[in-house]
Assembly symmetry: C2
Homo-oligomer: 314 residues x 2
Amino acid sequence: MSSGYKSWILLTGFILFYVAYLLFGAFVFSTIERPVEDKLKRDIQVLKEEFLNQSCVNATSLENFLEKVLQANKYGVSILPNSSASSNWDLASSLFFANTLVTTVGYGHTTPLSDTGKAFSIFYALLGVPFTMLVLTACVQRLMHLVTYGPISMCRQKIGMDPLAATAVHFAILLLVVVLGFFVVPAVVFSYIEDTWSFLDAIYFCFITLCTIGLGDYVPGEKPGQNFRSLYKISVMVYLFVGLMMMYLVLRAFHRMADLHGLTSFFQLPHCDEDIEEDKEPIIEAGPEDQHEAEASAKPLDPASHTSYNTINR
Amino acid sequence: MSSGYKSWILLTGFILFYVAYLLFGAFVFSTIERPVEDKLKRDIQVLKEEFLNQSCVNATSLENFLEKVLQANKYGVSILPNSSASSNWDLASSLFFANTLVTTVGYGHTTPLSDTGKAFSIFYALLGVPFTMLVLTACVQRLMHLVTYGPISMCRQKIGMDPLAATAVHFAILLLVVVLGFFVVPAVVFSYIEDTWSFLDAIYFCFITLCTIGLGDYVPGEKPGQNFRSLYKISVMVYLFVGLMMMYLVLRAFHRMADLHGLTSFFQLPHCDEDIEEDKEPIIEAGPEDQHEAEASAKPLDPASHTSYNTINR
C-alpha cells in the first residue's frame, strides 16, 4: 500500500474519531443538562401560572408583553429598574465590545442593534482580527526571550542542567505560573468582585475567555450599580489581552518541548512526501506576521551563528 | 541606534496604533448604538407603564416576576408558550453546542446550567479545541493540492502563465469562490429559511461565525416550530466546519501569494536578529500538527527534489 493511500485512510479514521468525540460530547451534555433544563422549564411555567392567578392579567396580553421584554433583553436592554442606569454602549463598554470582537472572543452579552452597527462590525473585525494576531505575535516573540530562552539558558549555564531536563522543568514551571496567575488568581478576584459568581463560575469564565470561545453567560462588570464600572471593564480587557499572550506563550513553549523530546512525531498525522515540501508555512488564523517566521525557518540554520534556543540544545 | 532598540520603539508605536484602533472602534460603536439603545430603553419603559396601567398588578410583583423570567431566559429557557416545545439540550442541539465549543465560535445562545455541565465544558474544550485545529489543519493540507497547487501548476503548464500572475489570478478566483460559496449563497439560504433575518443579518451571521467570534445574536434553527430542526442544526455544523476550512485555505493561499509578490516584508514587524534564529515555529493556537510543518520548513529546500509549489515558482 502506498504511503499516500495509507495517509488518506488514517485521515479518514482521524475524522471519524473526531465525529465520535463530538457525538460523545453531545451525549454527555444532553444527559447532564436536559433534566436541569426540564426543571427550569416547569418552574417558569408554575411561576407564570401563579402570576396569572394572582393578577387580573389575561394570558395573551402577558405573553405579548413578555415577547417584547425578551426581544429587548436579547439586545442587552433590561426592563428591570436597577439595570437601566448603565448603558451597554458608553465608551468603556464599547471599548470592551470592540476588544472582544477583534480577539474573536465575542461574548455577545451586547450586540449591535442597528444595521449600521452590524455592517461596521464586519468591516471592523475584518481589519481588527488580523491586526490583533499581528500585535499578539509580535509581543509573544519579544516575551520568548525573557520567559523562555533566558531562563533555560541560565539553567544550563549556571546549574549545568541537561538540555532536555531544562526545557521540561521550564515548561512545568511556566504552566504552573500561567495556571496560577491567569486562571486561579483571577478566578479568586472575579468571585470576590462578582457577588453571584462561585469559584467554579469564575474559573469557567477565565477558561472560556482565554480559549476565545466566549459564551457570554458570565461577563464581568454587568451587575447593576457596579462600582468603578469603566475601570473594571478596562482591567478585564488588559487581563484578556495579556492572558491571550500567555496562552500563546505556553503553546509555543509546549511545541519546543515536544519537539526536543521527540513527542512531535506522536502528534503528527501521516502525510505524503509532497506535503513536507509544499507545506512550508504556518496556517492557523495567524496574521501575516507568521509569514516571516516561515521565511526565517526556510533558511538553513547555522549552528555556529550564536547562542539561540536551537543551538543551545544541540 | 541599534536595530534591537529601534525594533522596540517600532513595536511600541505598533501597540499604540492598536490602542488607537480599539478606541476608534469604541467611539464609532458608541456613537452608532447609544441612540438606538436609548430609544429601545424608552420604548420598554413605556411598554411596562402601559402594562401596569391596564392591569391590576403592582410594580414590585411584576419586577420580581420579570427578574425570574429574564434569569431563565439567560439559560435559554423561554417563558413563551411556542418556544417550550423544543429543547436546547436534545441530541442535535447538544451536538451543535459541542461543535461551537471546540471550534471556539461559542455563540452562547445556550449555556450549561449545572456546575457539572460547566466543569465538563472546560475538560471537553481543553481536549477538543486542539483536536479540532489538528483535524482542520490535516484537511486543509490535503485540500491545498486540489485547490491551490493543482490549478496553479495547470495554469502554468497548459496556458504558460507567468508564476506571479498565476498565483495572483488563482488567489482572486479562490477568494471570489469562497466569498460567493461561503458568504453570499449561505446568506441567501439563511435569509430564506429564517423568517426574521434580512440579507444583511445573514451575511453578518456568516461573517461573525467564520471568524469564530460567534456573538450569538443570530443562531440558525432557534425559531419556534422550526421544520427539520435536527437536520438543519447538523447542516449548519457542516457549513461551519467546511467554512472554517475554507477560511484557513484562503489565508494560506494569501500567505503564499504575499510571499511570492514580496508583500510579506510590507506586513513584517522589524525584529532582532536573534528572533530569526529562535522563532523557528508557528505559534498561533494551531494544534501540535503545525509542529511538523515547522520541522519540515527547518530543512533546507532542495530545488531539484520534485515539482512543488516552491520549486515551480523559482
